[in-house]
Symmetry: C2
């Protein structure tokens, strides 16, 4: 089945959901190549819009995302990838999920999760600390 | 808190998750106006990329999405909106979730959900059947 990469400039959004808990962990974008790599290797590879290159999630932190299941939506222009996350969290700010803030009625953010790791420690020990990790 | 609409041409992806079950129901895009309307009315309003206009989810089907909670990611360029969905499903093909197909090793789709309503019946009885419903 064809994914509609060309419909939106070569990239489709990929929702990453924890297969065990149902929590939404993050959203990234994939082009055809990163999608193919994700499926072939069984670990999530995005395409970084800011760096304009492939971005293997966990390449510096070791917090890779092991693919459990890949779903596609009705229009084939969005992906839902259920994963088994390796490590304490996916967010470069030290949380399990990048969606760690809720907005109140006035639009003010409130942190609704606890830090699960220290970003400084994780990225400092990486051999090639990469801005990629910050999306 | 500012959402980074301008970072990606005025639109950010909004993941819609069923607050009760944790199921991811769909992904749409929002511009600043649709986001403001969503927050003010408590019901999800997207911006349709294909029609280039605001798109109130459920405007013809009645299957509106009542907002339970709005979360924002670390980069403020993606939204996670937890909802109480009204009606039997959000997908114009008659499923609870737009992500009703899983891809197997060869990339072939397999339907993993059951139809919960007949799209023909729902959209035929709408006063103004709208292609918008098809995203």
């Amino acid at each position: 089945m064809e994914i509609a990469f060309e419909k939106s400039g070569g990239l489709v959004p990929a929702i990453i959901q924890d297969e065990a808990t149902g929590d939404v962990l993050m959203l990234g974008f994939m082009n055809a190549e990163s999608f193919e790599l994700t499926r072939r290797t069984g670990e999530v590879v995005f395409f970084s819009r800011s760096r304009n290159k492939l971005w293997k999630k966990g390449e510096s932190s070791g917090h890779v995302l092991k693919v459990a299941d890949v779903c596609v939506d009705c229009d084939a222009d969005a992906l839902l990838i259920r994963v088994h996350p390796v490590g304490p969290g996916v967010c470069h700010e030290g949380y399990r999920s990048c969606f760690f803030r809720s907005l109140n009625d006035k639009g003010a953010p409130r942190v609704i999760a606890e830090r699960t790791f220290s970003p400084g420690a994780v990225y400092a020990r990486a051999k090639f600390p990469s801005a990629n990790e910050a999306k």
